[in-house]
Symmetry: C2
Subunit: 210 residues, 2 copies
């Protein structure tokens, strides 16, 4: 377990390939050969491909989830007011900065989230709901306090819409970057898009009721 370690090399490579090509389209052979480890190592260390997928998610989602929990607790203690601006910019900062060492990591974060969400009924979505439903509820509560006049049901859907806008856009960003380059002669980064995303989300979530 000296070097980057077999387990970590597998996780790193699997994470990148899953984000790039999807789960079903990424074979264990592709992962292990690119990682420079033996094919059997995945089943030895993780048990199965499905377990590897969950391990990948756990490793990249747990830090984010814990950081979000900590920041929300900090807000509660310091009495920072619950506003859509505060909450949403908090999330975007965390999503972009949970792994500050590697900027490419943010892109992988969003791609993986998108893959997980658009995944068929598979157990991945249930797993994510079980594992990270609590922190999501907590965020939803804060948002409700920020918009006390809004019916919870309406707010629930608007948060979902916002989630969709964020994950969907950032997850398909490679294609969108190219379009933006061709049509507007403009290079964009993840940070650019989240900066543009914030007013959209605030405008959408706080829009007047129908």
């Amino acid at each position: 377990m000296a070097q980057p370690g077999t387990v970590d090399r597998i996780l790193d490579t699997a994470e990148a390939l899953f984000a790039q090509k999807g789960f079903a389209e990424t074979s264990l052979r592709a992962i292990t050969s690119k990682a420079g480890v033996n094919l059997a190592a995945v089943n030895y260390h993780f048990g199965s491909k499905e377990a590897l997928i969950q391990a990948v998610f756990e490793r990249f989602l747990s830090p984010f989830s814990e950081a979000l929990n900590a920041k929300l607790a900090e807000m509660e203690e310091t009495g920072t007011p619950d506003t859509p601006e505060n909450l949403l910019s908090l999330i975007s900062r965390l999503a972009l900065g949970t792994h500050p060492d590697d900027p490419r990591r943010a892109a992988i974060f969003f791609r993986l989230s998108g893959q997980a969400y658009s995944q068929p009924v598979g157990h991945l979505r249930e797993y994510l709901h079980k594992q990270y439903g609590a922190v999501f509820s907590r965020l939803q509560d804060h948002m409700q306090r920020a918009l006390p006049q809004m019916p919870p049901r309406e707010l629930f859907w608007r948060v979902q819409f916002g989630l969709g806008a964020a994950i969907f856009t950032l997850s398909g960003m490679e294609s969108l970057k190219e379009i933006s380059r061709n049509d507007f002669n403009m290079e964009v980064t993840e940070a650019d898009i989240t900066r543009r995303l914030l007013p959209f989300l605030i405008g959408g979530i706080t829009a007047p009721m129908p």
Copy 2:
């Protein structure tokens, strides 16, 4: 070619299974056995699995695309003003009503769109861009006329955000329906959600610049 026809039975079944489980996770054997046709029929009639996927998209996207084109032309002729409200409610009506005979069809429409969008670099996305980029540009132009004060680049991203919110939410609706049922004792339909979606999209797209 009397009965529902082998080709149509394949398309119907493939459409449903693709929407439900994804492309890679749906085998030709699953499609053909459920459709009650021979395995070789897919390769005989379509040539390959990839071609079948494109055929499925063509069949469900072309009517929508043509209807949208017609409606936009109608707006131009009758001088209907370009407003975000008019344009977005037009799209939602079309997405929900292009196949008015089958309500389940709307759900499949959104699920397939989500699958296509979250798909890896594969040729599907290029195909969709080539095939339906024109009508999308036309819609973008109308939206620009509705919001002349907004920089085109900003509008481009906001339309993408809106697309994400719509497709993402409606594509993952089965899970969200269940959450809504458990947490709010509330049954929701595709039409309910698009009704809620409209104010969100308008609020987001017309939000003040950062």
